[in-house]
Amino acid sequence: MNTAAMAIKTGIDTPMVTPNSNPVAGIIDDDRIDIKASINGDGEAYARLVRRYEHLISQQMWRFTRDKEQLEHLVQDVFVEAYYSLHGYKWKAPFLHWIRRIATRVGYRFWKERSRDTQYLDHGKESHIDSYPNPETQTPSEAAEYLYSILSDLPPDDRIVLTLLYFEECSTKEIAERLKWSQSLVKVRAFRARKKLKKQLEHAGYGRNNHE
């Protein structure tokens, strides 16, 4: 099994360095070949790249929508945007890291556009939070759905930081890289977003009617 396949199977972001990979940048040889061919217009090479990473990218984009049809569109958008940016790939980091950054920006943009579209309709909207189910008795899918709805009450800037923190367990450094923000900005945003989330949960009655 090559390193790309291993990375996909295990879901590890940074593929292991083996004789089949570039020991300096950690770029998988298969990726390097396919990226160069794609830049030269080989569509089949790009399709191989897409097939190699679509599962991991769809996992990531599932944090931005809970609708399967929308998920497909977002994953497509990521790979289309990546294709037109391939000339800008600097060969310094694995392709997966690079495309994850694009995916984060596509998702963030999607939220911002949606929040712009709905901000006039949402005046005086009620919070999504009305009860606090026990996480231990919930299925992972129910817990994810619930966490998604809690975070969706926040503005996109706060929501993206907390989504990356809670769902993807990203470090401050990773969030900064993905969003092209400074680490100090990420720390400030995360602090404020958590504070806002706490206030929002308390305002909606957390503590009075826990674990209904």
Binding site: A47, H55, V80, P135
Partner: protein, 85 residues
């Protein structure tokens, strides 16, 4: 568990175990790339160049005319004189 953020941490730990739906998009991505070929600015550039050339021609003709009419009163009298037999 009275700390709301601890509750969210527990919720997130459970949420991360979720089985994610997988999608297969390679065919549609290729289709979109083929259809959304980069915009060609060639025809637009020709139209812009043509417009610029016409504008330059008009400017070259009009500027001396405007300069010769620096005094509207003089121009008026000159024009009037040409009508007097």
């Amino acid at each position: 568990m009275n700390d709301p953020l601890r509750y969210v941490d527990q919720l997130a730990a459970q949420a991360r175990k979720e089985a994610i739906p997988s999608v297969s998009v390679s065919d549609r991505v290729l289709m979109r790339i083929r259809n959304e070929s980069p915009v060609s600015y060639g025809p637009l550039a020709w139209i812009a160049a043509g417009s610029a050339a016409i504008a330059a021609g008009i400017t070259a003709f009009v500027v001396p005319l405007i300069q010769s009419m620096n005094s509207p009163l003089t121009a008026f009298f000159q024009m009037s004189l040409s009508y007097i037999p």
